[in-house]
């Protein structure tokens, strides 16, 4: 089997060209990087570095020690001064607060004393005032009561006197008038009433008798007439029992017709 390489040649050329270009670019970058390191960094050797360190240490130690000493001293000084200052302040504050408290208590005591005194004074004044009012009131009450009682008693007495006077006067007047009236009228009245009563009772009696007689007469006549009529018509006399029997018969007949 034979291969035709001519057909794959462009592809091979492209691949080779690509690889070549890759190497070239890589070289270019490497060159540039190297150049940059050479230009910008200075790195001493290890021995030089050790020497430099020794030198720095020998030169700087006393300076550092001195600085440390100064800082310590300074800080101690500052601390001491602050402490003193703070102590002073605290002392001052304590004394001030003590003074204030003492003053407050003193003042309070004074106020308390003052209040107590005032209270005592008020109590005294009040009791005096109360006593005065009570005295005044009692006096007024006594005066008022006495006056009022006197006034009431006086009025009652006056009223009673007036009443008695009027009653007596009225009684006298009535008695006089009444006596006169009775004397004048009573006999007339008695006579008139007596006459009237007598007349009335007599008249009533007369009327009653007349009525009874008339009714008897009428009844007699009625019975006689009815008797005659009945005898003529039905052949018998109607007495009371027959009369009632006839009425009862009438109702018996009416039972069917009317009820």
């Amino acid at each position: 089997m034979a291969y035709n390489y001519a057909e794959y040649m462009p592809l091979i050329i492209i691949m080779l060209t690509t690889v070549l270009l890759f190497f070239l670019i890589h070289l270019l970058f490497y060159y540039l990087q190297r150049k940059k390191e050479l230009l910008l960094t200075f790195k001493p050797s290890e021995s030089s570095q050790k020497e430099i360190d020794k030198l720095i240490a020998s030169e700087m130690r006393p300076i550092i020690l001195e600085a440390n000493q100064k800082i310590r001293e300074s800080s101690e000084r500052v601390t001491n001064s602050y402490e003193k200052e703070m102590q002073g302040l605290l002392e001052n504050m304590r004394s001030q607060s003590t003074n204030l408290v003492r003053e407050f208590f003193n003042q309070n005591k004074q106020i308390k004393n003052n209040i107590e005194k005032l209270n005592q004074k008020i109590e005294v004044d009040f009791s005096k005032l109360h006593q005065a009012i009570m005295n005044k009131q009692e006096k007024l009450y006594e005066i008022g009561e006495n006056n009022l009682t006197e006034e009431i008693a006086r009025l009652a007495q006056e009223h009673q006197q007036a009443k008695t006077f009027f009653m007596e006067e009225a009684s006298k007047e009535i008695k006089i008038s009444g006596d006169k009236f009775t004397k004048q009228i009573y006999p007339i009245y008695q006579k008139a009433v007596g006459n009237i009563e007598e007349k009335i009772s007599a008249t009533q009696e007369e009327i009653k008798k007349y009525k009874e007689e008339r009714f008897k007469e009428l009844d007699k006549k009625i019975y006689q007439k009815l008797g005659k009529i009945a005898k003529k018509t039905i052949g018998k006399v109607i007495d009371l029992s027959t009369h009632e029997e006839l009425i009862a018969n009438a109702f018996e007949k009416a039972k069917k017709e009317i009820f």
Partner: protein, 155 residues
């Protein structure tokens, strides 16, 4: 109270009695306010018609010294009495009260109603009775019989 009222109504037999009671009630109604100040027992003693006595005593028990209530109760009583049915009878001459009572009882028994008699005396009817009730008129008198006999004799 109803028992006393029923008894009172039962005792009334004629319209004459009814009218007398109604007049008496009017008089009592006036006196309740004017004289006795609601004391019905005092009024009851002075009554001419004693049929109302028990009713008044009972009324005083229910409304003692209360003229307003007594008055209105008497007014109700009047109304109750005024609605009692009446039957008119004409008779020749008076009959006994006992007989009338029997008649009323008999009517009540027959009609199952309370009725009172409106009696008119008419000697012309000679005997028997003419009865009128609820627009009906029946002549059961001897007058009718006599007329009949006379007419027959004339013929």
């Amino acid at each position: 109270m109803e028992k006393v009222l029923n008894k009172l109504i039962k005792e009334i037999i004629t319209t004459e009695e009814l009218n007398s009671i109604l007049l008496e009630i009017d008089k009592i109604q006036r006196e309740v306010f004017e004289k006795q100040n609601g004391s019905l027992s005092k009024i009851a003693k002075e009554l001419e018609n004693h049929q109302l006595e028990n009713y008044l005593l009972e009324l005083e028990k229910i409304y003692p010294k209360n003229p307003e209530e007594q008055f209105s109760s008497l007014e109700k009583l009047k109304k109750n009495l005024q609605i009692i049915s009446q039957i008119r009878i004409q008779i020749a001459y008076p009959v006994s009260k006992a007989f009338l009572k029997n008649i009323v009882s008999w009517i009540e028994k027959e009609t199952h109603k309370k009725l009172i008699l409106d009696i008119i005396l008419n000697p012309k009817i000679v005997g028997g009775a003419i009865i009128e009730y609820q627009g009906k008129y029946e002549n059961f008198s001897l007058e009718k019989e006599i007329d009949k006999i006379i007419r027959e004799k004339q013929i």
